[in-house]
């Protein structure tokens, strides 16, 4: 592929995509999290209706539900205060405590909407389409079964599968490492570092450092 963008255009594109992701989808871009979500669904199955409703509920809905459940269990405030009119203890204090919990303007937005499996699959599938369009426009689309790259071939041509095993082992490390560090190049590297998050700064230094060291070791070995 000889149609690589200059560094400034690449930087503009990365920032532009990350910002658009936030504005259009309402979340920070984080690709390894989508893999994690898919693997979790595969391991644990779909969340049951109760768990899904809880996570998709807004704060206002949650507070209303808690209030309703409280009334169902202990009786509504009016009934309680009528029944215990002679009592020195009033139930008003409970009401004000609950009111204090509520935000001044209860947000209608979900606390954290659970994305569907289809959303994650569509995003990952669309990455394939993006690569396809790029290759088609560059006129460089050709199906190659062997891993492509001259440096790659010179390093790994004699390893099992002509380098396929290297890709598989590398992939396992990528999958395990990104899940362990809870993020990858997009979530930690781009979005986390730019928000000056300590975990992202450490993870990014670690993965760039380890990749640079590994690349130099490979060069020396070859």
């Amino acid at each position: 592929m000889t149609h690589h963008w200059p560094w400034w255009l690449g930087g503009l594109a990365l920032a532009g995509v990350a910002l658009t992701h936030w504005f259009v989808l309402g979340r920070q871009m984080a690709v390894s999290g989508r893999f994690t979500a898919i693997v979790n669904r595969w391991r644990f199955g779909a969340p049951d209706a109760g768990a899904r409703a809880l996570q998709n509920a807004s704060r206002a809905d949650l507070l209303a539900a808690i209030q309703a459940a409280t009334h169902a269990e202990f009786g509504a405030q009016e009934e309680a205060s009528n029944a215990h009119a002679s009592s020195t203890r009033t139930s008003e204090s409970d009401g004000t405590a609950l009111a204090a919990l509520a935000p001044s303007e209860p947000s209608a937005a979900p606390v954290s909407r659970v994305r569907t499996l289809a959303e994650h699959a569509v995003f990952l599938g669309s990455l394939v389409l993006g690569g396809l369009f790029s290759a088609l426009l560059a006129g460089s689309l050709e199906l190659s079964l062997a891993p492509s790259g001259e440096i790659f071939a010179s390093l790994f041509a004699k390893t099992p599968g002509g380098g396929a095993l290297v890709l598989l082992v590398g992939g396992v490390l990528v999958g395990a490492g990104t899940r362990m560090a809870a993020g990858c190049t997009s979530g930690h590297g781009l979005c986390g570092v730019s928000r000056l998050q300590p975990g992202s700064l450490l993870a990014t230094v670690a993965f760039f450092g380890a990749a640079v060291a590994t690349a130099f070791v490979l060069r020396v070995l070859s």
Binding site: H4, L12, V24, M29, S126, G130, V166, L168, G171, L173
Partner: protein, 141 residues
């Protein structure tokens, strides 16, 4: 516009951009890691710098304060980052890249993709069995 359509457009644009920058080329990624070419490092630094300037503006002009998850250091941050770095240099791919490579016709990226799913699955199993610390997650972002 439906959520799925918006999600799809974002995926296509990201895949296209990553391909054009050169992140989907094993050789180009290695020219970056060995400092033979600083082009992609610079693209990354420019991207991060622009975002660092942009997020405070986004926050200021948002109608409601945006909820962005904190990304604290935990016990898996350093080790996970190191494992990922070694894997990135070996496979030439971070998670999105394996898919972009497939789109470009690099069929061998199927091995990388399979590895990523297996590794993610394996770590989640190891984590539950042996580690059990709170690792946070990208899922909520």
């Amino acid at each position: 516009m439906s959520t799925l359509l918006r999600t799809s457009i974002l995926g296509i644009v990201l895949g296209f951009a990553l391909s054009r920058i050169g992140f989907s080329s094993w050789d180009e990624v290695h020219r970056m890691f060995t400092f033979e070419s600083l082009r992609m490092f610079l693209a990354f630094v420019v991207g991060v710098t622009l975002l660092t300037l942009a997020w405070p503006l986004v926050r200021r002009f948002s109608a409601t304060p945006p909820r962005w998850s904190a990304r604290p250091i935990h016990r898996g941050t350093l080790a996970g980052g190191l494992l990922f770095g070694v894997g990135w240099a070996l496979s030439g791919a971070c998670p999105s890249i394996a898919l972009v490579q497939l789109g470009e016709g690099q069929a061998a990226a199927l091995f990388t993709l399979a590895g990523i799913f297996v590794g993610n699955w394996l770590y989640s199993w190891v984590h539950e069995r042996y580690f059990r610390w709170s690792a946070g997650s990208c899922v909520d972002d």
